[in-house]
Symmetry: C2
Subunit: 453 residues, 2 copies
């Protein structure tokens, strides 16, 4: 029986059998207590045994980390929990040596646990982090599927490049050690230079113009050589894309989706959230509950700059019209509005080529969502649906338009107003768990110089 | 309003506004019929308009592929459908030229449509295929999530190699054109040779031994230079892994999951299934319904060989004890048992190193599921949980054990009986849709020499 079901349907006096691992063990002369977890929920079960068990002497010696099967009766507990298990039988399924790195005593640092990433989901903290990762992923699918969005698997290996070259990993089967000089990619596996996708958005637009509503949820890659707390070389992205939807409609979906996912996690991972609230980020639960019930402000980029300029603050970076905003500005503006803020209509020169050009010729219909305590959580835009305008912008930026003829053609063949956004899944998880390093919300993170497992 | 909601809640006399695309258009002198789809469901809506519309002359000229917004009243239809829309207004949102490749007349071949993969989801067939892809993906998540499995994102870029080298794509950021001779991978992005994963199973086992039940659902890669109907270089895999679960339990999950997913698709994509049944594979619906209600046979590999040897058939490949079985054998055996067959306990020499060695020293606790009309749909095994036996087997096979020390350690630190299986998502889709070429169930397929979009 799974512990999660046992705790849900517990009946004093019931006989059950459970299988899992010893997380702690205190043995006395004639009896002992096992702190037991099977990983199906955050809660542990206390197992009490005594010398009436035929293998009592053997059980007494069991160390932290052992796998056991325990049968017995559910009884009322005298300890901190409602119930415990009075064992009538304990079978040893797998032993564990005394040098097992995860001992019950002492709290290992997160840095140390990164070195033994294959064991860290057995700790309470990481058990909670990766369960929330799973629950949040499901919430995202559930949200979009129940609203008729088609899940689109964007290609991972790609010959197109969404945001400009230079940050892509190259994918090849050429025998590199045997080659000299300029490579001939017509001889490579795909007959041309190929790399790992940095975004599935452009391809997702083809699905939006077929199904009206679509979303991606898959891995994306950046070969940036940056070692920060929030950058990984491999991360998962959610990229919804909606036809017949303008920037206002885009923001409606962003807000509704985020509130749904946060509420789903609050409802479905209450013990995990309590753990984060207690041990990782004080006030996390309240922060999440407030988000679910908050009004999201919508304001133009230029009006944000005006507010920042008027603020009585010594900025490290002076806010300027036409320029990007810094972390300190993000924080100020969410404090100012006391809640999440959509900053929209950005200067076109600092945004991507595919964004809808506004009639002022200076801004594009782009939006970033700034969230208190997290900064930028999502970014989106209305896409340029006008063939000529899009082509001109690509030529202005010296882009190779022939490689994207299919993308341009979407504007010719029944093209229409459409919008979408992207959310980095790990950025959401950092917000949901309070764990601030991206290496701690990915099971096996990839960063410059790190590719274990 | 989405068409799917309109068809669900249709009320004669109701006024609605819909946005979508013209799939066909017949115009008469004073009125016209538009075959209209918005991609939210398989069904199209007929829109009737007449010369009472102020822009009647303009509408008359609209070609297939145009995007429009139509408002009007739902009326009873005289045609094949229940209802149609009597338009009171039609706005043109996006035009489409006469050389648009998807004309209403003529049925383009699947080969031709592969050349314009970005437009093919607009055809009835591919609209259905990729919607079923989305629905089946959700069914898989739903099945595992509702049963407490933790969704595990296996790493995509990896330095380990699950099934032996030679089939992996290499991932690099080295400036290849400038290099000569033996490469120094300590200078590469990850400081070592890295490639694209061929399976997330080994890493998934670390989660099974933490959470009891886990599953992956993500892209995997093979750099095999094979051009067949069933091989792609990039495909999605589902890899569940369960602790405290033996081969029999493994088969229980395989059977239950498959039946659930097939039934979910039958229930949630009835129009798509009807389309496949009518135009792609006659009898498909009955095939799927039979699977849901069938008993799955469980039989040892050696007993399968005995049956094959006794059969009065001229085999192309003679069945042999200790050998793999061929397509013709798979077909015979599912016919013989008139339903799905689990073939279990395979000769160890033709199976992977991590499979549980049976006490006969000749077989391993592996299983393949053979399904009528599809052949092998899934493969799984109980994993070797004995440290010594696993190590010996790896050494026998000349594997580099140091790179997999973490995998071996799982057997030392509370290791226990555990099992899992893998299902190629596209193989399932071929079975569900009757579309036989893997290039037609992946939005943007990657095969040798092909990497468009």
């Amino acid at each position: 029986m799974d512990l999660i079901d046992l705790f849900k349907n517990k009946q004093i006096g019931e006989n059950v059998t459970v299988e899992g691992w010893i997380r702690n063990h205190r043995d006395q002369k004639n009896f002992g207590f096992i702190d037991f977890s099977d990983g199906t929920c955050q809660e542990h079960l206390q197992i009490v045994y005594d010398d009436s068990l035929p293998n009592f002497d053997e059980i007494k010696k069991l160390l932290v980390g052992c796998a056991i099967e325990a049968s017995g009766t559910i009884i009322e507990s005298k300890g901190s929990q409602d119930i415990e298990l009075q064992a009538t039988s304990i079978k040893i399924l797998g032993t564990c040596p005394s040098d097992y790195p995860l001992q019950a005593k002492g709290r290992p640092t997160r840095e140390f646990l990164r070195e033994i990433a294959y064991l860290r989901p057995r700790t309470n903290l990481f058990q909670a982090v990766f369960r929330v990762r799973s629950i949040a992923a499901y919430a995202i699918h559930k949200y979009f599927q129940e609203r008729g969005y088609v899940y689109f698997h964007a290609p991972i290996i790609t010959a197109s490049d969404c945001e400009g070259a230079g940050e892509m990993f190259q994918v090849t089967t050429l025998p590199l050690d045997e080659l000299k000089g300029k490579l001939d990619y017509t001889k490579d596996f795909f007959g041309k230079l190929a790399g790992l996708t940095v975004s599935g958005q452009l391809e997702a637009e083809t699905f939006a113009l077929s199904y009206k509503k679509t979303y991606t949820f898959g891995p994306t890659f950046r070969a940036e050589n940056s070692n920060t707390k929030v950058h990984a070389s491999e991360f998962w992205m959610i990229e919804p894309e909606m036809a017949f939807c303008d920037l206002e409609g885009d923001m409606d979906v962003m807000e509704d989706m985020l509130k749904y996912v946060v509420k789903y996690v609050l409802d479905n991972a209450p013990q995990e959230i309590d753990l984060f609230d207690k041990f990782v980020e004080k006030g996390l639960k309240e922060k999440l509950e407030r988000l679910v019930n908050s009004e999201f402000t919508r304001i133009d980029h230029k009006d944000v700059i005006t507010i920042l300029k008027k603020a009585n603050v010594e900025w490290e970076f002076e806010p300027e019209y036409g320029q990007d905003i810094a972390k300190e500005h993000e924080k100020y503006i969410t404090d100012y509005f006391n809640g999440p803020v959509f900053i929209k209509n950005w200067p076109k020169d600092i945004k991507a080529f595919y964004m809808k050009q506004n009639s002022d010729n200076e801004t594009v219909a782009a939006v970033d969502l700034e969230v208190p305590g997290a900064g930028e959580l999502m970014g989106g835009s209305q896409r340029e649906e006008n063939y000529e305008k899009l082509l001109n912008r690509m030529e202005e930026l010296n882009m190779e338009t022939s490689a994207l003829d299919w993308y341009l053609n979407l504007r010719k063949y029944g093209g229409c107003v459409h919008s979408g956004f992207g959310m980095g899944f790990e950025r959401l998880l950092i917000y949901l768990t309070g764990v601030e390093n991206i290496r701690d919300v990915i099971p096996y993170p990839r960063t410059p110089g790190n590719c274990d497992y």
